[in-house]
């Protein structure tokens, strides 16, 4: 462990950079949503104000909850999100690996969902445990399609599993989205990410109007602030993952910087528009949508990738 490792984890691609960028992109989300609904929307530093306000509120540890799990799950989820952000950011900005590969990434992304489930079921509240149950079902629904989507870049890079190798393969032969199977997998991946971030139309676990934010319902003060920060950091983590897998990474020379920013903002705006134009679907509809329609499409993309299309 050298000093640079701490710098990567805590400052540049890791904690500080991801948190600031995530909160800013959270503002983009709220502003674009407001403009879609012909509203004005919140000011630029709104999400920072929300986060710092939540840090100063009282923390209520619910009497009926399992105290240790209740407190630990947002913090562990925060640590996992920071780790993913650092690993992806190092590959994207410095071009070398952190020692992990795509499989580690998939495991870490699943740990985040598991923490949401544990945190929700630890509160002892009926609505929270309902939300946790729905989170499990949503994870079951999107995980298979997501794994198949992740297989496509691995196959196209010549059966290489490390993120930096996938990236350098794309530098050599062009971004994977240019091919038919890559484009197909990218579209499925975008919808899977929408479900993994529990954004509408897949905000079934935290349906605000139905089960009152589900797993987050009983959290207050700093613990809620950490959940909100995790959700903001996911606005960075998941688009970066898609950019590494399909869009050929970032270019930091000249006009390439603008092009890189456009790639990122493009993915974010597409996700926001999907979010704003679709109502919430039921959990059985979501399961049917992923297993009946998206998984066969992802499987088709894998087969096409093996055939080299």
């Amino acid at each position: 462990m050298s000093g640079w490792t701490f710098f990567y984890l805590l400052v540049f691609p890791g904690l500080l950079f991801t948190a600031v960028l995530g909160l800013l992109v959270g503002w983009v989300d709220r502003k674009v949503s407001a403009r879609v609904q012909f509203r004005v929307g919140p000011p630029l530093f709104q999400n920072f104000n929300d986060f710092f306000k939540l840090l100063g509120k009282e923390t209520i540890i619910v009497k009926s909850s399992l105290h240790s799990l209740f407190v630990l799950s947002p913090l562990v989820a925060f640590g996992v999100t920071t780790l993913i952000a650092a690993m992806l950011g190092v590959v994207l900005f410095y071009g070398f690996g952190f020692g992990g590969d795509l499989l580690v990434m998939m495991y870490l992304l699943m740990i985040y969902s598991v923490m949401v489930i544990l945190g929700g079921s630890a509160t002892g509240n009926v609505y929270s445990s309902l939300g946790a149950g729905r989170e499990i079902k949503l994870l079951l629904a999107d995980e298979l399609a997501f794994i198949l989507v992740c297989l496509v870049p691995i196959i196209k890079a010549g059966y290489l599993i490390k993120l930096e190798e996938i990236l350098s393969a794309q530098v050599a032969q062009g971004a994977f989205i240019g091919s038919f199977s890559g484009a197909l997998a990218f579209i499925v991946g975008l919808l899977c990410i929408q479900a993994k971030m529990t954004l509408p139309p897949f905000h079934i676990p935290e349906a605000e109007t139905e089960i009152v934010e589900g797993p987050l319902m009983e959290y207050s003060g700093p613990l809620l602030g950490f959940w909100k920060l995790n959700q903001a950091m996911q606005w960075v983590v998941f688009p970066f993952l898609l950019i590494i897998l399909f869009l050929g990474g970032f270019n930091s020379v000249g006009w390439g910087i603008l092009w890189s920013a456009l790639k990122y903002l493009g993915i974010v705006v597409i996700m926001i528009l999907i979010k704003n134009t679709n109502p919430r679907i039921r959990i059985d509809t979501a399961l049917k949508f992923f297993w009946k329609y998206l998984t066969p499409v992802a499987l088709l993309a894998v087969i096409l990738a093996v055939l080299g299309v």
């Binding site: 709220r30 407001a34 609904q37 012909f38 509203r39 004005v40 929307g41 919140p42 000011p43 709104q46 104000n49 929300d50 710092f52 306000k53 100063g56 509120k57 009282e58 923390t59 209520i60 605000e208 109007t209 009152v212 934010e213 987050l216 319902m217 009983e218 959290y219 207050s220 003060g221 809620l224």
Partner: protein, 139 residues
């Protein structure tokens, strides 16, 4: 604490408590979120859980059945919390002030920080009241 209060004033999350209202004020509160008034400009957001709230918007006259529940909701909210009484009922008692089943003093149930009279108050009046609350927080 001045820095923290400015952050708090820019991000007031509102929880809506019905203390036996006639539903008029509640409809007017929902008007605040529509594109015409859009209180998200000031960072105000309607939240569904009282654990996330910074402001309790209380409507209606408190009758004897609802008063202990309102007290309990107030105790469940994380402090600092502000209570804004919306409507003439909560402010003065309106035409129900001599009724047999209301609590004699609403201030004895929960501390109320601000009153918005009107039956129902216009959304502009509510925005003005929230702006005053922000002014109080900023000192």
């Amino acid at each position: 604490m001045g820095w923290y209060k400015r952050r708090l004033s820019k991000s007031l999350w509102v929880f809506h408590v019905s203390g036996s209202p006639c539903n008029n004020c509640d409809i007017e509160i929902l008007d605040l979120l529509t594109p015409r008034y859009d209180v998200e400009r000031f960072g105000i957001k309607l939240v569904g859980s009282v654990r996330h709230a910074d402001v309790l918007l209380v409507t209606g006259i408190f009758n004897k059945k609802i008063a202990p529940r309102i007290k309990r909701i107030y105790e469940q909210a994380p402090k600092p919390i502000f209570v804004v009484a919306v409507g003439t009922c909560t402010s003065s008692g309106c035409c129900f002030k001599d009724s047999y089943n209301i609590v004699p003093s609403r201030e004895a149930v929960i501390p109320i920080d601000m009153y918005i009279p009107g039956c129902p108050p216009k959304p502009e009046a509510m925005i003005a009241a929230v702006a005053k609350l922000i002014g109080v927080l900023n000192g």
